[in-house]
């Protein structure tokens, strides 16, 4: 399969790029031909500390894994320990120490595209895994084929279950892991989005508009505005919640 992937990102309005706490892979625009490709976005929770580091760790964990990357096995526990080691390197003020004790939290969404020519029938298939409210949509021309894991704008809240770096908060994680699979065709597109953008997308579609065209046209001669300017306009209009925003656009060509 031949894939063209491009990330877009913007920090929360009023915050700096350094304060951005989403994460994504690939980090840069990528055009490649392969039989298996992995993608991910993650969204560190505002109210927890070092959640940007945790989001990056989760993205790396999903994209470097060769098979399924469960969130309750030894590999995941090592990831949690690694976070503690990274953030515990230097003495912290009392409040930062307390935040470390609570742990970091993030939503994660991973997608794997397969082009397995030896397999009959569903050789061109995909698998996705999610915890939290980062979402993907699969587009075929003007049709939204799949919305995952959330399917409507009303499902977004400010209190999602998120993956924690603290094992005390991941005891029932298996109840919250969502899996999905499907097949793809040449010409399909996948949009991986963190919650503020995903919520906007769902609402626009529910109201009969065509949000996929806006995302499809970003960074082309047809774009309405450059990504950050466009996000800023939506925030000012109250059409998008002020939050870190990430889009990973994947076109199978």
């Amino acid at each position: 399969m031949h894939v063209f992937a491009q990330p877009f990102w913007a920090p929360k309005g009023g915050s700096t790029d350094r304060e951005y706490e989403d994460a994504f892979w690939p980090r840069k625009r990528m055009e490649t031909t392969a039989t298996c490709l992995r993608f991910a976005v993650a969204d560190g929770a505002t109210e927890t500390s070092y959640s940007g580091i945790w989001a990056k760790q989760l993205v790396r964990y999903l994209c470097r894994s060769s098979g399924n990357a469960p969130f309750d096995g030894d590999g995941f526990r090592r990831l949690q320990q690694r976070w503690s080691t990274i953030v515990g390197r230097r003495p912290l003020p009392w409040y930062a120490e307390e935040k470390v004790r609570l742990g970091a939290f993030a939503a994660i969404l991973g997608l794997v595209l397969y082009d397995d020519v030896d397999r009959e029938g569903s050789g061109r298939h995909w698998q996705a895994v999610a915890v939290g409210d980062s979402c993907l949509v699969q587009m075929r021309e003007e049709e939204v084929l799949v919305r995952f894991p959330l399917a409507e704008s009303a499902a977004f809240t400010n209190r999602p279950y998120l993956l924690s770096s603290n094992p005390a908060h991941t005891g029932r994680v298996v109840d919250h892991v969502r899996n999905m699979d499907g097949t793809w065709q040449t010409g399909d597109a996948f949009y991986l989005m963190t919650d503020a953008l995903a919520c906007w997308f769902m609402r626009e579609a529910e109201e009969g508009r065509t949000p996929w065209r806006v995302l499809r046209d970003l960074d082309t001669s047809d774009e309405i505005k450059p990504f950050r300017e466009w996000v800023e306009t939506l925030r000012k209009e109250g059409a998008m919640r002020n939050d870190d925003v990430t889009l990973l656009r994947i076109d199978i060509t």
Binding site: D43, E47, P93, W94, Y95, A96, E98, K99, L162, N242
Partner: protein, 279 residues
């Protein structure tokens, strides 16, 4: 819609705590079984509220100034109650509160080990206030002082999320009926809604603790009933979070607790995504 303004460093909100430091606070808390005085309860409540507020606003680089915070003491005197470097200041950015407690104590806390057990963990607990019990209970005067401070804040921050006032007291005002002064505070507003006034009643009565009631029927005495009537109803967004946290709420639910902890209010504040599995 009211109570939807974003709380940010560019558009901060305000917290004002009023703490009763009158002579009656030396009386026992509850029926005195714990050997604690009401003044100990007040000091504990304000220290925990400040601690939780600072933690809420803390990120890896420091504490973000989402709030400016004041503490007004009332007893022998009425006025700003911070000591040390913050002494005499009416409203202080929350980062300064975080960085300037009067002292930090070491305490042992039992925490979940993630494998179904509990382990002892040493934590640092900041202290800003020690118990004080002295003089009368000039609650009307304290509410009046709060009103003046909030008017100044609102003039400078007209679009802020409405300030929250938390009054911690045994309810026995000695300078008249505080109802009118409380009304005057609740009528102040920003573009985003009216100021919220919540009350914490610490009593010597042996009675079951009550959290966020929706009626004064069943409250143990006239002081509790008065403080309930002085308290703002929880706005819809707070009710929704309270419900998610397991509180029984209705449209009549007010920001009032009797011999109970009001720290939950800090969890009701919305400064961005808060995981549902973080309690």
């Amino acid at each position: 819609m009211p109570y939807t303004a974003e709380i940010s460093r560019a558009n901060p909100s305000c917290f004002l705590f009023l703490i009763d430091q009158s002579g009656s606070m030396a009386d026992p808390f509850g029926a005195g079984e714990s050997g604690r005085r009401k003044a100990d309860g007040v000091a504990d409540a304000i220290n925990r509220l400040l601690q939780n507020l600072v933690i809420k606003c803390a990120k890896e680089e420091g504490v973000r100034d989402y709030y400016h915070v004041g503490v007004i003491g009332y007893g022998a005197h009425v006025g700003p109650a911070f000591s040390g470097a913050l002494a005499g200041r009416e409203l202080v950015p929350v980062s300064e509160i975080g960085n300037m407690p009067a002292r930090i104590e070491e305490r042992i806390k039992k925490v979940d080990d993630g494998a179904g057990g509990l382990v002892d963990q040493s934590i640092r607990f900041p202290i800003w206030f020690d118990p004080v019990a002295n003089g009368g209970t000039p609650m009307c005067q304290a509410l009046g002082r709060a009103k003046a401070i909030l008017e100044g804040w609102l003039a400078q921050h007209p679009a802020c999320f409405p300030p929250i006032v938390i009054n911690i007291t045994d309810g026995e005002a000695t300078d008249g009926d505080p109802s009118a002064a409380a009304d005057a505070i609740r009528k102040l507003s920003s573009n985003d809604g009216e100021v919220l006034l919540f009350n914490v009643h610490l009593s010597s009565q042996r009675a079951t603790p009550i959290e966020f009631p929706d009626t004064e029927a069943g409250l143990p005495d006239q002081f509790a009933q008065l403080l309930f009537r002085m308290s703002s109803p929880l706005p819809a967004y707070m009710r929704s979070i309270a419900q998610q946290e397991g509180y029984k709420v209705s449209e009549g639910t007010r920001g009032f607790v009797f011999n109970a902890d009001i720290v939950a209010v800090i969890r009701f504040l919305d400064i961005g995504t808060r995981p549902s599995n973080l309690r």
